[in-house]
Amino acid sequence: MSIAITDSGSGMESQLDYSSQYVSFRVDGQLLGMPVNMVQEVLTEQVISPTPLARAEIKGLLNLRGQIVTAVSLRKRLGLPDLEDDRSMNVVTRVGEESFSLLVDEVGDVINVSGRSMEPVPRTLDPHWRSVTIGVFQLDEGLFVILDVETILNFD
């Protein structure tokens, strides 16, 4: 089952301003987000072929309709332990010529933040998180942390 996001290019929606929309997901209870136009699609749990000797953050490769996608565990990338019952969902994004999938605990709604302004990352945030974050939005339900996807996928 996949929830296609980019395919919904009907006349009305294309008029919408995507820049204020973020796909939200949770890792370790924290609400995280990335710009909707960076997300290729969202998938439920997938069969992932492990890649021996790769860094711990890399869970393996998955086959997305004949396209090979590198799966990166967001938990590991943020310095968190893996869940015991790992039913991670995939947020697929394309960076450069390659597709990557960020493994997250659960995927939430697309959140429209129009009218709010992005605030700088609080200094109190874990440095591990700070280095991969662009900024935050204050929402009623709490802090909405926007990730810097390119940095997340750049390990060195």
Partner: protein, 886 residues
Amino acid sequence: MDDILQEFLAESWENLGQLDSEIVELEKDPQNAELIASIFRTIHTIKGTCGFLGLTNLGAVAHSAENVLGKMRERMLEVSPGAISLVLEAIDRIKELLQGLEATGEEPKTDHSTLTLMLDELANLATAPVESTQQAASVTPAEKSPAEPQLDQRPLNEQSQTEIAAVPDGNPAAGEEFHPEVVDPLVPATGTEEVASRSSKVSVADLSIRVNVNVVDSLMNLVGELVLTRNQLLQLARGDEESKYAAPITHLNRVTTDLQEGVMKTRMQPIGNAWNKLPRLVRDLSQVTNKHIELVMTGAETELDRTVLDAIKDPLTHMVRNSADHGIEMPGVRKAAGKPEAGTIHLNAYHEGGHVIIEIQDDGAGISRERVLKKAISQGLIKEVDAPHVTDSHVFSMIFQAGFSTAEQVSSISGRGVGMDVVRTQIEKIGGTVDLASKMGKGTTVRIKIPLTLAIISALVLESGSQPFAIPQLGVVELVRLSAEDCKKIETIHNKKVFRLRDRLLPLVHLNEVLKLEETIPDEDDLQDTNIVVVQVGEDQFGLIVSRIFDTEEIVVKPVGRLLKNIGLYQGTTILGDGRVVMILDVGGIFNQCGGSSAHSQSVAEETPSSTDRDTISMLLFGVKENVTMAVPLSLVARLEEFPLDSIELNGDRKVVQYRENLLPLLSIEGAGYGGGEPVDPQPVIVFSENNRSMGLMVNEIKDIIDEQLVIRMQSDRPGVLGTAIIGKNAIDVIDTQYYVTRSTPNWFEKVEDKKSFRVLVVDDSMFFRQLVATALETEGFSVVTRDSCVAAVELLEKDSRFNAVITDLDLPMMDGFEFCEWLKEQEDTQELSVIALTSANSATDQAKAREAGFDEFLVKFNSHELISCLDESFARLKYKTGVKA
């Protein structure tokens, strides 16, 4: 850049590609009118289009070249090397101009007036038709008229520039309009046949279209996807023949296979395209070097994928250049060697089981093994002592190492020390292999084996650590399956597993260990077997132990992702029929990762032990219990006997047997850390015997007697074991006979007690031989002191010279046996000693030298009886002397 210009460039490059080889061909065969015509057409087409596109500079050069060619075609100008060189020069200028045009979109404003002037002068020189033109002239008009109307709807006008430009579709046959001009003065064409063949040529040309490479590449990718989907469907449908999908899937399968082949075909190009430049290259080289070189090319029509073709262009050029520069000798040298003055470089290409083989063969001087070795030694690639034992193929493979050039003088053509390693890297990059064979004075052959295509390869799918992996079939040499029983044949040397496969030691690598994966214990019976995939990396082979081997599958290679690139063990990824993503292993990477090169040199070192330990000795191999083999030097063995079990009696707690009117004490190997085997009837016994006293060692079976160079690997601290020797590449314990002898008969030495006063110094750098000789002499009752070098022996003797005899090896480091002997004879304290040379070097010169140095005896390794009788003699002399003194 506009489309017409693009088309013009593409077409011109294509035509110019052929041109070089055609002109060189023409130089050899100046009478070939068809060739002249073809060359003329190419230049003419360029000139024509230049006029149309307003490329004046380019047009001027082309025009002057065309003039000369036109005169040649009309046989008014002789096809001389000078003229050819000038035309080639013009073609080079045209290429330069085209390059400039391609890069900037504008015609470079370089000055070519000197060249055009020379060309024009040459054309003006031509006035009178040269030989055989009369005939040609008479034929020309006759032939022209019937051909013309059939081929050309429009009036033929050689000078019409617009007409040529009107055919910008790049049809290489655009020049066909001028074909009627072709005149073979020797074989005048006869009307209709010629015309028919020509018109068929035209139609073939009409059937081809020019397609952008990107289109073909993306088609190839799509077909790759289709193949994967097909594989998945096949997997789903497997085992369900009843399904209503079965028939369509079968059809889909067939169509996909055909489509795949079809698309592959569109990417196929004859290898001749990569050879185009070579005739020109060889011609230029032979002019520069003043050599006569013929280039023969066969199999130019052999097709291969264009990506592969592009990849081998440079390596091929380099190797041909090498052959011409280093391989072929100067004419004088060749003549002196009884070879034809002109050297030949033969390029040959053919298909062989999914691969293309390209051979570059020259009949030149060949590669000097000695020179390569010298260079290899100076670069520290091999040790000097090992040099004579290195195989030819290993020697020649070193040429492909970086920085290796044996050319004594670095020339402008080749020999810069880069090259052959680059050649090898490039060929291996596309999954190919390269070997070289050479014979001094006969020439050199380089053989390149490359896959037909890169995008879809045949791969072996296997499992390790419960995960599937793929290995390109090209690197797989064979598959070996060992039953649980056979697994015992896997030996361990230096913590590295090796398996003796036929005659060679195969280093083994557990794939799951390399990949740091847990190996699950197989529960099914058939999985108890060990599966070994034998793979080839350059010159080396090694075995990958995997838990399961599936099938070969046609897989589509996809690049390794950015985050996985630096692991170095994967050369790609692919999707299997069941949709799983698997990694394609890079066997070269695995080999390097597990210290491949060092593992290799180690095994070489073991196969060719250094000269100091290289002594052949006869060893008796015997089985102690199941699968345990031990050895004893045959020189210590008196006899081999078999006794019926019931003849063995117990005398107290000792086993004895009646033997030659005596009781022979029997011992088993139990004390050596091995449990005795099941009783065997009759019981084989190895009999050791000295001075009418004997003892027998009970063994399970007498296996073999072999003459081997053996290396004692380590001294054992287990009682009864002298050490471990590598015999026939197996590690075998060598027993210490003295241990058993003293155990069987504690008073064994009593009778010979008086010999204790006779002190013998044994000098040998081989630990094994010191032990062996010491054992033999101690068994006999002599007191023995050993030293591993003459220097150490001298040190000892300076302090304590109370020895009666010295037994020394001759070939020793620092101070050899001869010097040692001379030293002994010079010292007052030691000149009385009997000095015995014990050596494996048994040449007459050595013997003479030994006599000169003052040796009393010269013995060949190793006959204990000879040695002992020799010592007995001097012992007897000693007793006599002391008796006299007393």
